[in-house]
């Protein structure tokens, strides 16, 4: 049923508000049928970028192509994009069917075909039988589904979603994440999704563009983004991380006087090393060192029990802090070094990540 999905190519998108650079010459390529997430803190420019794509914000300059069509100067109502708004923006003076039929009526669909397509869209979002309901009779999750149905019913080339799940409670949000993902697989529409929730982005996306200061900091698959962040911002924004200043020499680096091996040789000099807490193994001081792993000796500062996991905070002699997280099994908890004692933190060479674009 779906029309051909189109790729999106943005070049040099710029939008300045006085001294504020909401978009600072952004280039972005989205493949046809891809689910791409714009992830960033509030004020990062991700919503501005989405609004430029939808046509609601006029950029200072730039080029935007949907497939082979240049659309940068095209009015919003001619762009053929389905959008799900953060607050859903359902028309309160129309019932559910009226909302979903709205884009179809504008396209001259009428009669039996109109009813059939509205019903089909309602089925797709699992709201069959709700067509005569008023909007104020619906729960948040149901409104979300109606907004979604309205955005896909006219089979747009592209679907945009502006933090569509942020108003839902946690359980519903997690269920909707999976549902949206399935729906995307089913429809295959090029989808751009905006969120500030990193877990949501990691769960749903084919690729994620991390945005900060009006620039795309890194555009990568969720796994690459997590395991190989390019710079300090990405490393800190996604997941937990400990950042350590090291001195690089070829395939090795020196951290607090202790030598660590690297997966690849890097430029000699000072650099920033990133460690993910859950990739660290905590060994008691004096335990046998394993081959093929890096080790760091650090003094335990704090040990926090968090139910399913524990968080251990340790300090190097130079004052840097390292966090380690592990599953809180009975045996594991019993073997942990206590605050004041020295712990040995072991981690894989692949998990010893140098940040490429970070000044120490």
């Amino acid at each position: 049923m779906q029309r051909q999905a189109v790729p999106i190519a943005a070049r040099g998108l710029r939008k300045h508000y006085g001294a504020v650079r909401a978009l600072d010459d952004v280039d972005l390529d989205v493949q046809a049928g891809e689910f791409l997430t714009l992830l960033g803190p509030s004020g990062s420019g991700k919503t501005t970028l989405l609004m430029v794509l939808a046509g609601f914000i006029r950029p200072d300059q730039g080029s935007l192509r949907f497939g082979s069509d240049e659309v940068i100067r095209l009015a919003p109502h001619k762009r053929d994009i389905g959008m799900v708004f953060q607050n859903y923006a359902l028309f309160p003076h129309m019932d559910v069917a009226g909302n979903i039929a709205y884009p179809l009526r504008l396209r001259g669909v009428a009669g039996n075909e109109l009813t059939a397509r509205v019903d089909k869209a309602l089925q797709t979002v699992q709201l069959a039988g709700y067509s005569a309901r008023r909007i104020d009779e619906l729960s948040g999750g149901q409104r979300q589904r109606v907004a979604l149905a309205r955005a896909i019913v006219f089979e747009p080339r592209i679907v945009l979603m502006d933090e569509p799940l942020s108003a839902l409670d946690k359980q519903l949000r997690e269920r909707m994440q999976i549902e949206l993902r399935h729906l995307h697989e089913q429809l295959g529409t090029t989808t751009i999704y905006v969120t500030h929730d990193q877990r949501e982005a990691l769960t749903m996306s084919d690729r994620i563009a991390v945005i900060h200061g009006g620039r795309i900091q890194q555009l990568d698959t969720p796994r690459h983004l997590y395991e190989r962040p390019r710079n300090r911002f990405v490393a800190e924004f996604i997941g937990e991380s400990s950042l350590l200043v090291v001195e690089v020499a070829g395939e090795r680096c020196l951290c607090d006087g202790q030598t660590l091996r690297l997966a690849q040789a890097a430029a000699t000099g000072a650099a920033v090393l990133m460690l993910r807490p859950e990739r660290l193994q905590v060994l008691a001081h004096g335990a046998a060192l394993a081959d093929g792993l890096n080790h760091l000796q650090a003094r335990v500062v704090d040990l926090v029990y968090q139910g399913d996991s524990f968080l251990l905070q340790a300090q190097l002699a130079n004052g840097s802090t390292i966090n380690a997280r592990g599953i809180a099994g009975t045996a594991a908890l019993a073997a942990l070094p206590q605050p004041g004692e020295t712990a040995c933190l072991a981690f894989g060479i692949d998990d010893t990540v140098l940040l490429a674009d970070a000044a120490p």
Binding site: F56, R79, A89, F91, P92, H93, Y102, F154
Partner: protein, 293 residues
């Protein structure tokens, strides 16, 4: 051990709170009762007394028999309808503009709209007289600039009355309308555009219907205020525009006929209430207002 559940005490507390509420609203209730309901009831009674002090329907009978009364009611409704219509025509675009302006600019413009409220009604009405009369500012300038040769009859007639009344009534229409328009989420119009509606279509299918409750409220307020209006038709109508209130004033001041005046007032009150009731039924206010949020 038995624990007391305080059913009686809790009920007493509930009753006491209600009494406190009633006590707080007592002054207002008393005021309305004394200054409004009692005199209206008294006037209503007067309208059924003949000149000799007996129960009779002669004032109502005269209202049907004498054509001047009929003309008065026709004039009243005609002037009120025209004023309301002009207010809608001028007020809707104004309110729309104000609702689209940034907040600061909108507030400044709002002051301009409300400024007349800070001046006495009578002063404003006489100010119009100065502007509109044969040798007034407007005729003077119009002729000096060669736009027209003879002084236009802008006052002491229906035109003058309408100009004055529209000026006074406009804020009553704009305020509720602007409120309704400001409550319309801007995202709804974005959503309409996104789904393929041209700006005109989005206005027609989304903005206009959502602003209707405010328009209905403003229209009703203006129309009902117009029905009982006195000063402006008296000053700017020049005796040619006789509305019910002017007729009432004549009955009392010229003929000292309280009965006839009371009957007129009673009929106007009943007509107004009937109209309000019809409007509420027709527009289903609750639902309309509910829909705006």
């Amino acid at each position: 051990m038995n624990i007391e559940l305080h059913a009686g005490g809790l009920r007493r507390d509930e009753r006491r709170e209600r009494l406190v509420l009633l006590g707080l609203s007592a002054p207002a209730l008393l005021l309305v009762g004394v200054t409004m309901i009692a005199p209206v009831a008294w006037l209503f009674g007067l309208s059924f007394l003949s000149d000799t002090g007996e129960w009779s329907l002669e004032h109502y009978r005269r209202m049907i028999e004498q054509p001047s009364y009929g003309r008065t009611f026709v004039t009243t409704f005609k002037v009120s309808l025209l004023t309301t219509a002009i207010c809608i025509g001028a007020g809707y675009p104004l309110a729309y503009l104000l609702s689209q302006l940034p907040r600061r600019a909108a507030n400044l413009c709002m002051i301009a709209v409300l400024l007349p409220f800070w001046t006495s009604l009578l002063v404003r009405t006489y100010a119009w007289l100065v502007l509109l009369q044969r040798r007034g500012l407007i005729n003077d300038w119009g002729m000096r600039l060669g736009w027209w040769d003879e002084p236009l009859a802008l006052v002491h007639n229906l035109t003058g009355t309408l100009i004055g009344m529209v000026h006074i009534m406009l804020p009553f229409l704009v305020l509720p309308l602007l409120n309704a328009m400001r409550a319309i989420d801007a995202d709804l119009l974005k959503a309409a555009a996104n789904l393929g509606a041209s700006p005109a279509r989005a206005f027609r299918s989304v903005f206009l219907p959502l602003s209707l409750p405010g328009l209905a409220a403003g229209t009703l307020i203006v129309f009902i205020l117009c029905l009982g209006f006195y000063v402006t038709p008296a000053v700017l109508g020049g005796g040619k525009v006789i509305m019910v209130s002017n007729h009432i004033a004549n009955d009392i001041e010229l003929f000292f006929n309280w009965g006839a005046a009371s009957a007129l007032g009673a009929v106007l009150l009943v007509l107004t209430m009937l109209l309000l009731w019809c409007a509420t039924k027709l527009l289903r206010f609750e639902k309309l207002f509910g829909g705006a949020h």
